[in-house]
């Protein structure tokens, strides 16, 4: 089965963030062109898909064996009718435009013990907030909050269910040896995080 259309970006054998970086290079050089990015792992599949959607492309994914073919169609070429799910709209109505960058697994400085308790209460407050963040990124020790047995999982899963995008840095997960224990959200890369820092309303904690 041939699932390739337009400009081909074959990054099989590459790990994040290379697939996203190479796809972006093509997007920048050839805006308005259909692109097919070929990856061979699910993390890269998810990250390229998210990147494409964030740039206004519609993304379809086909799988052949262990390879994933992501076809990115520019927004102005996408003439399909869009069906809006009312429930999704209602959930998204509670998601604002703030991006939280969590840089450690405790809040503030001075006492880590106090900071860990503050973090527990903080997530409860965020869950109960009328307007929730759009995205929460986790880097360095903060990635420990999204893995199995984290005391914050229930709150973070509620936020994910409410439409908040939760993403942890793959480098950091790998450093702490917990990449296979992510229990909420997705694995992202510094490229996507940097892109967000440059373009969105970010709060660093």
């Amino acid at each position: 089965m041939n699932s390739t259309k337009g400009i081909i970006v074959d990054v099989r054998g590459s790990l994040c963030p290379k697939p996203v970086i190479e796809t972006k290079q093509v997007v920048d050089k050839a805006p308005g062109e259909v692109i097919t990015t070929i990856v061979d792992n699910e993390v890269s599949r998810d990250n390229v898909e998210k990147f494409g959607v964030s740039k206004g492309y519609s993304v379809t994914i086909a799988q052949e064996g262990k390879d994933f073919y992501l076809t990115l169609v520019p927004g102005d070429m996408n003439h399909n009718d869009v069906t809006v799910n009312i429930d999704t709209l209602q959930e998204s109505a509670h998601v604002g435009n703030r991006v939280l960058l969590m840089t450690k697994d405790y809040l503030g400085e001075g006492s880590e013990e106090l900071g860990r308790n503050l973090m527990k209460t903080f997530w409860t407050c965020v869950v109960e907030a009328d307007v929730k963040p759009k995205t929460i990124y986790f880097i360095n020790s903060a990635v420990k909050m999204v893995v199995t047995d984290s005391v914050h999982l229930d709150n973070l899963k509620e936020l994910a269910k409410a439409g908040v995008d939760i993403a942890a840095c793959g480098i950091c997960l790998d450093y702490y040896g917990v990449k296979d224990q992510v229990d909420v959200g997705t694995i992202t890369n510094l490229y996507a995080i940097t892109d967000s820092l440059m373009n969105e309303a970010v709060v660093k904690l």
Binding site: L114, T124, C125, E128
Partner: protein, 84 residues
């Protein structure tokens, strides 16, 4: 409607948080809800079915709550009778 236990100091909230965690009792460590007080403090939120268990734990461990309330978000809290 849940039960919210408010403390006279952070120390007691932290102590109970550690004990309940060690004993595997379901609870949430929360900020004192604005319906209860404007002051910033920590509280423990539990299901009503656990109040007797948690009260016994507090007594055994010399943990003094300042108040215990019946609590529903957005509504006036009700003092839990027997909190004295």
């Amino acid at each position: 409607m849940d039960i919210v236990i408010v403390f006279t100091s952070y120390y007691f909230a932290d102590k109970l948080d550690k004990i309940l965690t060690a004993q595997g009792i379901a609870f949430k460590l929360i900020a004192v809800p604005p319906e209860i007080s404007d002051a910033c403090g920590m509280a423990i939120r539990i299901q009503p079915s656990l109040i007797d268990t948690v009260k016994a734990i507090m007594k055994d461990n010399h943990i003094s709550p300042s108040h215990i309330y019946w609590y529903t978000r957005g509504e006036e809290p009700i003092v839990y009778k027997g909190s004295q």
